[in-house]
Each structure stands twice: as structure tokens, then as C-alpha cells.
Amino acid sequence: MGTGWTLLTAAFAFIIALTFGSLIGVMRTTPFGFAVRIGDVYVELFRNIPLLVQMFLWYFVLPELVPRNFGNWLKQLPNASFYTAVVALGLYMSARIAEQVRAGVLSLPRGQRQAGLALGLTLTSELLNTIKNSAVALTIGLMELTARARAMQEYSFQVFEAFTAATVIYIAINIMVTFAMRIAERRMAVPGYLGFKPQPAGH
């Protein structure tokens, strides 16, 4: 149950993050000063406010600032905390992805392959971050994995069992992605620096 909410929230948030992130990222590489300015403001806004505060703004503040009828409708939505979490997390992550996209596009002439690889690599880690950050949504009442563990621990007082289970599930989710990342990282190391380990002969 909890794992399902975590993955669902992360998946939808990541779609929003990719869409807005690529859009804003590319916008910031255009020669139009106005578009670049808007992109900069967007990124600074979402990057410099803690995710938790952003969740509160979407959940508690937004319904009060919009017209009354619309606000009431927002407050009465079933699964309101899920939609809020998806939007808040998606836009928060989109600012980070916009930064990566911009850096990737700007480094294109210097080596398209490397830029593409670097982008793929950071996107994997941003996906991991999105999954992890979905835990913050427990503050607005989303019963995702961490929230379930805490609730379980409060009912049964089995602190270690509850948190160990959650930890193991998060690690299991992460391991596959991290594994793929490590292979890519090894391929990208530049010879001549301390991090480089010579590859054994063969394929």
C-alpha cells in the first residue's frame, strides 16, 4: 500500500518534472533575453524554497488565495494530498531538471556523446531523488511508505521492524537504478585522473 503511493506519486511527479524541466531548461538556452529571464526566475523560485514549505504553500495557502468556490472545491477533493504532492514535487524537481538540461545543452558542441551520457546519468539520479523526496508528502497526510512505517510503529511499538522494512523497500527500489548508474559512471571516467581505473582487456 505505502509503496504503491510512493511509486505512484514519484511517477506522476517525474512526468511533470521532465515536461516542465525540459521546457524551462531549453528556454534558458534560447537567445531571447525575456525567455531566459523567465526561466531563471522559475528555477530560482523553486530551488530556493524548501520542498516542505512548498508543499505547505500548495496545500494550505493556495486554496485560500484563489476564488472561494474554487478553493472549497480544492479542499474537498478526494486524495487532495496526493494531487498536491504530485504537483509540488513535480515542480520542485522540474527546477533541478531544468538546470541539468541547460548544462547538457550548453555542453553539446564540446562532445555530444558525453553530454547525452551526462544527462542520462543525472536524470536517473533525479528520478531517485523524486522517489526519495515523495516522503516529504507525509507532512500533508499522504500515506506513502515512510508514513506507513511511522503509523505502524505508533500502533505496534515495533520501531525497528517498521523502519527496517521501509528502509529495505527503499533500498530495493534504488538498487536497480544505482546499478545502471555505476556502469555508466565507469564508462565515463577520464583517463589520467585519480578516479580512473584501467579496464581489464577484453570487451
Partner: protein, 230 residues
């Protein structure tokens, strides 16, 4: 839209927000950064040492910390720190730990994993030739690290370390989940007491935004100032 906006509640709670709230947040950020960098550098040296006995535990620790949500780790440490205290001091009962000390231990241990990866990248950015040259001169490992590699690695990584500190500053808001009164906790308490959620949360967002933006601008300037031209 802002006709019902009550600025007075913000002004009335300013002393509380800044005397109690921001002090906690800033102190926690500063001390956790220092502790995290020291511990992180040690972890980085362990990871790069080449002895399986050191690299494996360090890598396992870093990967564990990086693959679970910070919120879950805050819960973990909230329950574990008293027992860690008991274990360290050999006492018979779990140690009584204050909110600040508990948060400080949590943030230091958690952020050390991230500072470790930054320092590892910093150490790896130093060319192999320098180490070989130093070893050819008869320098031992501690001398090579202490006088050749680490000073340069730190210098190269100062902007990244500071950027991570800004992330840490924003992360401190997560202590909300264990009801600690940091800046956001203080704002949230006033908000709920006076029923002024809109004003207090908007004000908190503005304060975090201004501090983080100013800090990242300073980092940007610093980056240009200290960059080594190659």
C-alpha cells in the same frame, strides 16, 4: 486577494521566529556542515584507500544514506540516538538527548554521505602525476594527502561544498516531522495558534527564499573569484 492579509501577526511573532526559530536553523546548519565535512572527508579517504576493509563499509554507509529519504532517516535517528549515546558512554540506560543534539547527530551523519561524494570527486580531480611526483620525493601517504591532495581538493570543491550547505539549510526544515521548533516549526506553531496559515507560510517561504538566493549568489561570486585558471 490580499485584502484579508494580516501583516500584524508576522510582526508580532518576529521575535519568536527569529530569536528561537532562525537561531536553531542556522546553528544546526553551521555545525552539521562542519561535522559533515570532517566525517565526509574521512569517508572519502576510506573509499579511495584501496583496502577492502575500509572501502566496503564506507561505500555501504554512503549508499545506504543516499538511497533512503531524509525524513525516514530523521525518524530512525530520533529513536536510535539515545541508544547510540548509551552505547558510546557505556551507561545502563538510554541517554536523554535534547532535540538540538539529536538533530545535530542526524544531520551530521546523514550529510556526511553527501559531503563524502563531493570530497571524493574533489580528490579525484587532482591529477595522478602530482601524487606520483610526491611519492617519488619520498613523501608518505599522510603527507601527500595533507599537503598536496586535500588542500587542492578543498579549494576546487569549495563552491560545491557551499551549495550543499544551502541544500542542508533547506533540509533543516524537515525537523518539522519530529515537532522541533526550527524556523518553520516556529512559523507553523504561530500559524496554527492564530489560524493564520496563509500569512505565516508565505512569510516563511519568503525568508527561506531570500536567504538561499543571497547565499547562492555569494557562492557564484566566490566561484569566479577562486577558480584556478588552467
Amino acid at each position: 486577494m490580499f485584502s484579508h492579509f494580516d501583516f500584524d501577526v508576522i510582526i508580532r511573532s518576529l521575535p519568536y521566529l527569529f530569536y528561537q526559530g532562525i537561531t536553531f536553523t542556522v546553528l544546526l546548519t553551521a555545525l552539521a556542515t562542519l561535522g559533515g565535512i570532517v566525517l565526509g572527508t574521512l569517508l572519502a579517504l576510506m573509499r579511495l584507500s584501496g583496502f577492502a576493509l575500509l572501502t566496503v563499509p564506507a561505500a555501504a554507509y554512503v549508499n545506504l544514506m543516499r538511497s533512503v529519504p531524509f525524513v525516514l532517516m530523521i525518524f530512525w535517528f530520533y529513536f536510535l540516538v539515545p541508544y547510540i549515546g548509551q552505547w558510546v558512554t557505556f551507561s545502563s540506560r538510554p541517554m536523554q538527548v535534547g532535540a538540538f543534539a539529536s538533530c545535530l547527530v542526524t544531520f551530521t551523519l546523514f550529510e556526511a554521505a553527501f559531503f563524502c561524494e563531493i570530497m571524493r570527486a574533489g580528490i579525484q580531480s587532482i591529477s595522478r602525476g602530482q601524487v606520483a611526483a610526491a611519492q617519488a620525493l619520498g613523501m608518505t601517504y599522510p603527507t601527500v594527502m595533507g599537503y598536496i591532495v586535500l588542500p587542492q581538493a578543498f579549494r576546487n570543491m569549495v563552491p560545491v561544498l557551499l551549495t550543499q550547505t544551502i541544500v542542508l539549510f533547506q533540509d533543516t526544515s524537515l525537523v518539522y516531522v519530529i515537532s522541533v521548533t526550527d524556523f518553520l516549526g516556529a512559523a507553523s506553531k504561530v500559524a496554527q495558534r492564530d489560524g493564520r496559515l496563509v500569512e505565516m507560510y508565505l512569510f516563511a517561504a519568503v525568508v527561506y527564499f531570500v536567504i538561499s538566493l543571497a547565499a547562492s549568489r555569494v557562492v557564484g561570486l566566490l566561484q569566479r573569484h577562486i577558480a584556478i585558471i588552467r
